[in-house]
């Protein structure tokens, strides 16, 4: 279908107001990429990618509905845009047809706060840190703290089923969501009812949470809150290997402990910046040591009991207590990880990304070793962290980076690294895309089981979105 651009421009201006519509290069360039490393790497040596034809900033669900009806009528792709921090190309351009970006950030208000039930009703375009600060000012917290807290939006979190660094205690963002308002591709506005539990059919909100904008645009949500903690405490243990560290964490969760933070990583004392100048180079034994970092929060009595249980379990598995300092230090720098990839991305012969895979405890330690070994065999550097621990399993976050002879070779090595990660992951019974979603990138690397599941999503999408406008090409959809 040919696209009558000026006619569409007129209709979009009517939908959102001319001041909330732009085709200026200033705005289209700013929406031409998200934070998918592959697309960023390509832009280093090639041209800056083409942006959308139109950017709209609707102020309410009704305006979103109007835009989607226009898009459906002309079969124009629509990309909902939150903070653009997607690392999987979820908000990046694709295809040849001119497309519309719906930037959600005008919808950024807290609509209501029920302090008795501890529920907030908030619009989806609010940036995470702004929401948290507003809640903190009233003595509450959401308890959802991803590393991209300062840049990502609530709508982006919900659409990708985001997991924050406090997920062992508070769960994923979907676990905090009690109800949604969303606009379906045909312009229908749906509100899912907010009630503690209900048994009348599947939960519609959970069809939209994690759908990455393929089924509609989330415009607002009711979220569960927590009171700001009265007490917080940190603890750390060092283990000779990763396996006993995982054992201590797994057994602690099984014993009913709900730590605020629980992560296993390399011994931070080996960091170059933290070592004495004349300290000897780390030995292989130093390098295989892993540290379990923990934080607890809540009433003092509860925190003390949880800490005691973990301490006993960790000590029984050979863990050496390092006290509060390493975990407290990590907490102080908890957002620093977000800055680490950029210096690698600005050099066009380097490649870098972050593999995040999930597995049950049974499979996790094997996967950890295999992934580390496979990458190091190729001379690529890795840093693997065990995070988002739950009763049944956890996630491995594997930052990797390497060097190639040229920009093209760097892209090839990047793709090879991902194919390798997918092979190791599938062979070891893990699942890719555990944290950042599927987007354009991970969806192509998923195992058959995941692909089958997404084929069902494609069927649902065909019904809800016959014109195929909503974020096509994401999560394996057409």
């Amino acid at each position: 279908m040919s696209v009558p651009q000026s006619e569409i421009t007129g209709q979009l201006a009517e939908a959102v107001g001319p001041e909330n519509l732009s085709s200026s290069p200033v705005d289209t360039i700013a929406h031409a990429l998200d934070f998918w490393p592959r697309a960023l790497m390509k832009s280093r040596s090639g041209p800056w990618p083409r942006g959308p034809k139109w950017v709209v900033w609707p102020g309410a669900a009704a305006e979103v509905a109007h835009v989607l009806r226009i898009a459906s009528a002309y079969a124009l792709p629509v990309i909902p845009y939150g903070g653009g921090s997607s690392m999987v190309g979820g908000a990046s351009p694709r295809g040849d047809r001119p497309w519309i970006v719906i930037n959600c950030k005008r919808m950024c208000n807290i609509l209501d706060m029920d302090e008795v039930s501890m529920v907030v009703h908030v619009q989806a375009g609010i940036v995470g840190v702004e929401l948290e600060e507003r809640l903190n000012a009233r003595g509450f917290s959401l308890g959802h703290v991803p590393t991209s807290m300062t840049t990502a939006t609530l709508g982006g979190w919900l659409s990708t089923q985001s997991a924050g660094m406090l997920s062992s205690r508070y769960g994923r963002v979907g676990d905090l969501c009690l109800g949604l308002t969303a606009v379906l591709p045909d312009g229908q506005v749906v509100h899912t009812r907010v009630a503690p539990r209900r048994a009348t059919g599947p939960e519609l909100a959970h069809l939209l949470i994690g759908a990455e904008g393929t089924l509609g645009v989330i415009t607002a949500a009711h979220l569960r809150l927590h009171r700001l903690p009265l007490h917080r405490r940190f603890d750390s243990f060092c283990f000779e290997q990763v396996a006993p560290a995982m054992g201590a964490l797994r057994q602690s969760l099984a014993a009913g402990v709900r730590p605020l933070v629980a992560r296993i990583q390399r011994d931070p004392r080996l960091r170059r910046s933290d070592r004495e100048q004349d300290a000897p180079e780390p030995t292989p034994a130093d390098l295989s040591r892993r540290v379990l970092l923990l934080a607890y929060e809540g009433p003092v009595e509860l925190v003390e009991v949880e800490q005691e249980i973990v301490r006993d379990l960790a000590t029984a598995l050979g863990g050496e207590g390092l006290g509060q300092a390493p975990a407290r230090r990590w907490w102080g720098q908890r957002f620093a990880a977000g800055f680490r990839m950029t210096p690698l991305l600005v050099q066009d012969h380097l490649f870098a990304d972050y593999v995040e895979l999930g597995a049950t405890w049974q499979a996790l330690s094997g996967l950890y070793d295999n992934l580390e070994e496979a990458f190091e065999k190729r001379g690529w550097r890795t840093r693997i962290t065990v995070e988002h621990a739950r009763l049944e399993g956890a996630s491995l976050g594997c930052a990797f980076w390497g060097e190639a002879d040229s920009a093209e070779a760097a892209l090839e090595a990047y793709d090879e690294a991902w194919r390798l990660a997918a092979r190791v992951c599938h062979a070891g019974g893990g699942g890719l895309g555990h944290v950042y979603g599927g987007g354009q990138h991970r969806a192509a690397l998923l195992d058959d089981n995941a692909k089958q599941r997404l084929a069902v999503l494609t069927e649902v999408k065909r019904k809800l979105d016959p014109a195929g406008i909503m974020n096509p090409g994401i999560l394996g959809t057409e």
């Binding site: 705005d27 950017v55 930037n103 702004e130 300062t150 840049t151 950029t342």
Partner: protein
């Protein structure tokens, strides 16, 4: 510095996941992706690399910056966005691609200077303009235009603590040239800096009521080949030595202190104004975003002139926290902050620190 010298900073921002988005007063007010720090720097970088054409339209994003420096405070790469974006403005000016709002800027600057100079002599008694003095008081344009009583109050406070060797600088200019820097008019700025430096170097000490003037004279003038041999201080830094001589009256029960960006983040002066304020105010309330993280009033970077609605929204956001309380006063130490905040402050009084101190005399 030329535009290309910011290559490293511009590249880092282009490939940054927009981590300082939340700090930017302009980005927060406009809610547009194109005016968050990352996008403004990326646009400058794409223009620098020739990947995007420099036009008045693409250059316009460089002007959506207050020059507050808050983004850099959050940045772990130590990127300093303000000078890079001001260099991008200079590039646009040099190529004749600056946005229409910048036209005839130099003429407007000098016309305003002359009228404020006239106003200054009209407002202040001639006895305060002494040529031979150890310390020269360099009054700033925004103070003369929007808060002329601060001039009287500053002189009154100085007198009250026994400092009678300060004279008002009787020069041709009432601005150290920040607007030229922010407009990207670097040759005009160089000329002005050299003129002012040559006159002010006769004194031992210069005091200014405008934090941006102090920063310019102390740090930018030497880079422009116009160093000032005299010590340049903000009036608050100067008065801090005399704080014990100010009677503690605590007539004001409570007030917020707003850190001006240039006095706080840029010059690192945080405690002196609080110490002085403590002579008059019983309880000093802190903003959540304070000291190094102080949030801008919206008055800098020519945003108040070019984008008045945006500037007003920034001031509203700064005052939101005050409005949630019953605290009736906000104190600052910069006429630009005073002007910008008071336009949006409703019943809350925004007071210059010197006025606050003068009131108790």
């Amino acid at each position: 510095m030329s535009f290309d010298e910011y290559e490293k900073a511009l590249e880092l921002c282009t490939y940054c996941p927009k981590l300082c988005r939340h700090t930017c007063p302009v980005g927060n007010a406009e809610r547009r992706e194109s005016v968050i720090p990352q996008a403004k720097m990326a646009m400058a970088n794409l223009v620098r690399k020739g990947q995007v054409e420099l036009t008045p339209e693409t250059a316009s994003v460089f002007y959506h910056c207050n020059g507050c420096g808050l983004c850099g405070e959050y940045c772990e790469h130590d990127v300093d966005v303000t000078p890079a974006l001001f260099a991008a403005r200079a590039e646009a000016v040099n190529k004749g691609m600056d946005p229409p709002s910048m036209k005839q800027f130099t003429d407007r600057f000098y016309a305003r200077n002359d009228s404020l100079l006239h106003e200054l002599h009209h407002t202040i008694e001639e006895r305060f303009f002494v040529e031979e003095a150890q310390v020269a008081y360099f009054p700033s344009c925004d103070t003369i235009e929007h808060s002329p009583r601060v001039l009287h109050d500053t002189l009154k406070v100085l007198e009250s603590v026994g400092v009678d060797y300060v004279a008002l600088h009787d020069g041709e200019y009432v601005c150290a040239g920040y607007p030229f820097w922010a407009a990207g008019l670097m040759s005009e700025l160089s000329f002005l800096a050299k003129e002012i430096a040559s006159k002010l170097s006769n004194y031992k000490k210069i005091i200014c009521d405008c934090p941006a003037c102090v920063w310019m004279m102390r740090f930018l003038y030497p880079q422009l080949g116009a160093p000032i041999s005299a010590e340049v201080l903000h009036v608050v830094e100067f008065m801090d030595n005399y704080a014990p001589r100010i009677q503690v009256s605590s007539t004001v029960p409570e007030a917020f202190y707003h850190d001006p960006c240039y006095l706080g983040r840029w010059l690192g002066v945080f405690d002196a104004p609080r110490r002085l304020m403590g002579r008059a105010v019983r309880e000093i309330h802190e903003f959540t975003w304070n000291r190094e993280r102080g949030y801008c009033c919206g008055g800098g970077g020519l945003v108040a002139d070019n984008l008045p609605d945006v500037s007003a929204k920034i001031a509203q956001r700064r005052l939101e926290e005050v409005m949630r309380t019953d605290v009736p006063m906000v104190v600052s130490a910069c006429a630009t902050c005073e002007r910008n905040l008071s336009q949006e402050s409703g019943n809350v009084e925004v007071v210059n620190l010197m006025t606050l101190l003068a009131r108790q005399l």
